[in-house]
């Protein structure tokens, strides 16, 4: 019997939860705020769905009832992607070690 492709996706999902579990426990507590901003940025990979939705109108039709939602989602996700990664970078640049001159 064929295995439903859904089962494969479910396997990826479950295994990723475990990967996430172990990776996040190894994050140092002092970086928990950057962790939140970077997870926020990567969860905006939902923009993939937004792009498909925005280009769903077909030839000649740019704005249809379904593509408008796609365009709106693109704006929201783009704010998050750029904002999330840049603010994370700004924060991480501030974490410095003690100067060794003393």
């Amino acid at each position: 019997m064929e295995i439903d492709p859904f089962i494969f996706r479910l396997s990826i999902f479950i295994l990723s939860i475990f990967v996430g579990y172990y990776v996040v426990w190894s994050v140092t507590p002092s970086l928990h705020t950057p962790l939140m901003s970077v997870t926020n940025a990567i969860s905006s990979v939902i923009i993939v769905g937004a792009i498909i939705a925005a280009l769903s109108g077909g030839d000649g039709v740019v704005f249809s009832s379904s593509s408008i939602y796609g365009f709106l989602a693109i704006i929201l996700a783009a704010v998050n992607i750029f904002g999330g990664f840049l603010v994370t970078q700004r924060m991480l640049a501030m974490y410095k070690k003690k100067k060794k001159d003393k």
């Binding site: 939860i17 507590p29 705020t33 925005a54 796609g70 693109i74 990664f85 070690k97």
Partner: protein, 464 residues
């Protein structure tokens, strides 16, 4: 682009996201990790363009909207003060949630663009995934908006509770399940809209009863929800990158919520059901007897610190409110010039989000190897000369160790009272968030410094 190739590239971007989180295990590797995350995102977006393969006028609009959102995001990222980070993260979570809702709506209206069937006859599994993605996304959105308003101070941080609240929430959740079942059998768009509307309502109702100081748990929880919403949409779109990322973010937020709850010695449900402190506040003020406290000024504090050989600083949310982190660093610099050893002690739930204090100290150029977590430093208080508590309160309360009747009994606290002397910067004697008196105020070795945190710190520096 062939479907197999794009699937493999989505997997690559998923792996890069894992590496992005992995990088955060130490500050040295973290910047590289962030770069991996950016590369992963670029790959995912590029692959999507290539696999849709539609470079008509719609494509130009996609780029325009991408640029609008991107520049807005970049502008916010550069302008936001570090003290406002909790608000920013809450605000960003709401955007992910809403984006998930929009994608789900679009897929519902035009399922053929996503290979999910035709309107009125969407594949059953896809419809369920879509409904879950939309519902969780909507809950994330409205919940985050409320969290944002509370953090920003637009809405009072006090818990809003009413009778039958939990019953109402439970009924609404059951209603969502029933609606999803009906949606699957009828494919009715009206049901889909009602489902989304009720989910918005639930997000709102879940967050309003939670008080200001429980925000670390709330933000982590919403972080987790935004991940599950993304994963739901990932299943709908059959997209590996989205499924992996959703799972990562979902478990990350869940772990942070767990750490925050442990830091307060409360169960997750206790926080979610909310209303903490509201009842204790009234009873606490009624039978409070006047006990003598010793209060001093900047001069006394400077004298104590000048004669110390080691000082431990305990920052809390009050430091963020007073924006005192830079003044504090200057004070510490002066202390170090006098060969006084200084370290910082951070409680897991200090501030309004996980790691809040660490970011503020990093902003003020405090080296991260001088900053310690509760377990690392708690034994050092007994050997330190001065503890300087600035803007923290409940996390130093010894009652948590001594009085089983206290609402915060069992919560891990910093052993500040073991120091030879304690300097406590605070504006008044009012109890902290938990509504209980802090025994530390009345200890023999405690000197209260009643002033604004920033001003007091500056005055001490002048007197050193």
């Amino acid at each position: 682009m062939s479907a197999n190739l794009s699937a493999i590239l989505y997997l690559v971007s998923g792996v890069l996201f894992i590496l992005a989180l992995r990088g955060l295990s130490s500050p040295e590797t973290s910047r590289q990790g962030n770069l991996f995350g950016i590369i992963g995102m670029v790959i995912a977006v590029t692959v999507t363009f290539l696999s849709v393969g539609n470079f008509s006028s719609g494509f130009v609009y996609v780029l325009i909207f991408l640029a609008i959102g991107g520049s807005l995001g970049a502008f916010i990222a550069y302008r936001i003060p570090m003290t406002a980070m909790p608000e920013l993260v809450a605000g960003f979570h709401s955007l992910v949630g809403l984006a998930a809702v929009f994608v789900a709506i679009s897929a519902f209206i035009n399922p053929s663009a996503f290979n999910l069937g035709i309107p009125g006859n969407i594949k059953l599994a896809s419809l369920i995934e879509m409904a879950i993605g939309a519902a969780v996304g909507a809950i994330t959105f409205s919940g985050s908006v409320i969290a944002f308003l509370k953090l920003q101070g637009i809405m009072s941080g006090a818990p809003i509770t009413f009778k039958g609240q939990h019953l109402l929430n439970a009924l609404l959740l059951v209603l969502i399940v029933i609606l999803t079942i009906y949606l699957c059998s009828t494919q009715s768009s009206n049901l889909f809209w009602i489902l989304i509307a009720i989910s918005f309502l639930i997000g709102f109702l879940i967050i309003i009863p939670i008080g200001g100081a429980d925000m670390p748990v709330v933000i982590s929880m919403l972080n987790s929800y935004s991940g599950w919403a993304a994963a739901g949409i990932g299943f709908t779109l059959e997209n590996t990158a989205l499924i992996i990322t959703g799972a990562l973010v979902g478990s990350s937020g869940a772990i942070l919520s767990y750490i925050m709850c442990k830091g307060m010695n409360r169960s997750f449900f206790n926080v979610i059901l909310g209303g903490f402190g509201a009842t204790d506040q009234t009873s606490g003020s009624q039978n409070k007897e006047q006990r003598p406290v010793k209060s001093g000024n900047a001069d006394d504090a400077a004298f104590l610190m000048k004669n110390a050989s080691s000082v431990i600083i305990v920052p809390g949310y009050g430091m963020a409110v007073a924006q005192a982190q830079h003044a504090l660093r200057e004070m510490v610099d002066t202390l170090k010039k006098n060969d006084i050893k200084v370290s910082y002690a951070i409680h897991p739930v200090a501030g309004r989000m996980p790691g809040h204090m660490n970011v503020l100290l990093a902003e003020a150029n405090v080296p991260y190897d001088e900053v310690f977590e509760l377990e690392e430093i708690n034994n050092d208080f007994a050997n330190a000369d001065v503890a300087f508590v600035i803007g923290a309160n409940d996390v130093t309360n010894p009652v948590a160790k001594t009085d089983p009747q206290s609402p915060i009994y069992g919560m891990p606290v910093l052993d500040v009272e073991k120091c030879k002397s304690v300097l406590f910067v605070k504006r008044s004697l009012s109890p902290g968030y938990a509504g209980i008196d802090n025994d530390l105020f009345y200890k023999e070795n405690t000197l209260m410094l009643f002033a604004d945190a920033k001003k007091m710190t500056e005055d001490i520096t002048k007197n050193l």
